[in-house]
Amino acid sequence: MTTMVAIERRVQSVLLTMFAALLVAIVMAFAFTRYMTTTSDWVSHTYAVMTTIETARTDIAQALSDTRAYAITGNSAFLAVKNRKVADLQQQLALLHQMTSDNATEQAHVRTLTTLVGAWRLRLGDVAHARTIQGFAAAAALVQKRHAAVASEAILGVLDDMHAVEQRLLLQRRSEEERLRHIVSALFVALGGFALILSLIVYSQIRRRMRHWIEAQRQLEHLNRNLDQKTQSLEETVRDLESFSYSVSHDLRAPLRHITGYASMLLEDAPAALDVESLRHLHVIADSARHMGALIDDLLAFSRLGRKSMDAQPIDMQGLVESVIKEICSARNDGAALPVHPVVSALPPCIGDPALIRQVWVNLLSNAIKYSAPRGAEARIEVTGEASEGWTRYSVRDNGVGFDMRYADKLFGVFQRLHSPEQFEGTGVGLAIVHRVVTRHGGRVNAVGEPDHGATFSFELPIAETTS
């Protein structure tokens, strides 16, 4: 049992460690995934910045080319397009300023761009103005001098720088993203491994338990089979005993009757022919046969007690004891009154088999009367009872011949007697029956005595459930 508990504890601690590790792995995987998402966001952001830079580049090229188209054609529609592109570019610059707020280098670039775009716008304005006011030749001269183109190239140069910075960032962020992807993959592999190991451990434990359980089950079945066999052989033994006691009751009684019968017939027919000694011998033969008959009857009664089924019900002990005393009085052979009448105090009721408990009282009271008879008029018998803490206790106390406590353990054995048949007749089964009945009720018997100073026989019965 203790080893089972130890195994249980070990399995529990292993499982707990495993679950903790699994939990940590899950949390880590979650955190890394979150981080990876952020990194991916940054990569997208960098792409967005680069797209904006490209748009700005296109805007510059278009504004420049529209300004040239106006210089050539003088068509004011081109001028409107140029102005829209310039406005667009300024919008892109604002966007870039906002997007690169976390990056000092790019912010510096944006500031430079703002200045350059300001100058460039003025130069574009100069060309347009020259065309509007002075005509094609003046504008063509400015174009020829690359008045606006130089400013454009300066802007494009800065945009190239910005693009290069973003390109580097993109590379960094993508490699970071790649690194995270690897870590997360490794984590998930580890997680899977953990789960697998955990399942294996749990599986092996369950298998072991199952094997233990199956083994225990097998042993139990084995024990049950053994028990069945033993029960069967016990039942056979009981049947044998029953048939034995049947034949004892029938077969042993008959020859005894014949012994007493023929002894009596002899006594009837030929008393004159026999001398005193022979007559005494005949009486001894008859008495011995009678005693053996009593022994057989008592032994059979005792063995029947073991087989009789118990019929537990509430018993009015007071009434029962009084009726037993009345019965003992009326059953006396000589018809004489009892030499001593037992004094019965208030007895608590009990639960038991009335017929069996009655036999207990018959035996105890008969004994008390028998063994206190030598006291004559001085004889006293008291019957008392009390209920306490789940038990009811009954006692029969007499002031008779008593017994030596050294032999107390023999009192309740079958055929155990502390007196010779000459002193007191009896078979030595009465107290054995008392013991067996009380024990079958789940109770206890007790005897206290002192030679020539009486004896007290008590029995206790449980108040609650009686067992057979």
Binding site: Y246, S249, H250, D251, R253, A254, L256, R257, H258, T260, G261, Y262, A263, S264, M265, A286, A289, R290, G293, D297
Partner: protein, 149 residues
């Protein structure tokens, strides 16, 4: 006594000693003189049906059958059963005289319609008194219907 009755008591008893003690008691105490003794169930039925070695006997039932329980060949319960199933012996009083006080034997006897069940006392005085009482009651005091005779 009655002309149509051959005997007053049919004693069915395998034990010679018990039979002798019973007969002696009934005769000595002047209750019944006319006792037929058979040693087992087969002889008892032969006697009652006037068959076998009793083919020549005078017809008529005894006033009482004293039946032992345990006997060779056919036991007391079988005899009782056969008697109760036969219209001729259906009403003849049967008293079991046995050493067995087993509840099963008692139940079976009463189920088969025994009139009385006596456990033979071990003590001879008591045995003799009991036998005398049974004889006195069933042969002298008890009345049986005409069909029983």
């Amino acid at each position: 006594m009655n002309d149509y009755q051959s005997v007053e008591i049919l004693l069915v008893e395998d034990s010679h000693a018990d039979a002798e003690m019973t007969q002696r008691t009934l005769k000595r105490r002047g209750i019944v003189n006319d006792i037929a003794w058979v040693r087992d169930g087969v002889e008892a039925l032969d006697y009652l049906r006037c068959e076998g070695s009793f083919a020549g006997r005078k017809n008529g039932n005894p006033r009482l059958v004293l039946l032992d329980l345990k006997m060779p060949r056919m036991d007391g319960l079988q005899v009782l059963k056969a008697m109760r199933e036969d219209a001729r012996t259906q009403w003849v009083p049967v008293v079991m005289m046995t050493s067995s006080r087993e509840e099963g034997d008692l139940l079976m006897s009463y189920a088969l319609g025994v009139n009385s069940y006596i456990v033979k006392p071990v003590d001879f005085e008591q045995f003799a008194d009991t036998v005398a009482q049974v004889g006195m009651y069933w042969v002298l005091a008890n009345q049986t219907p005409a069909q029983a005779r």
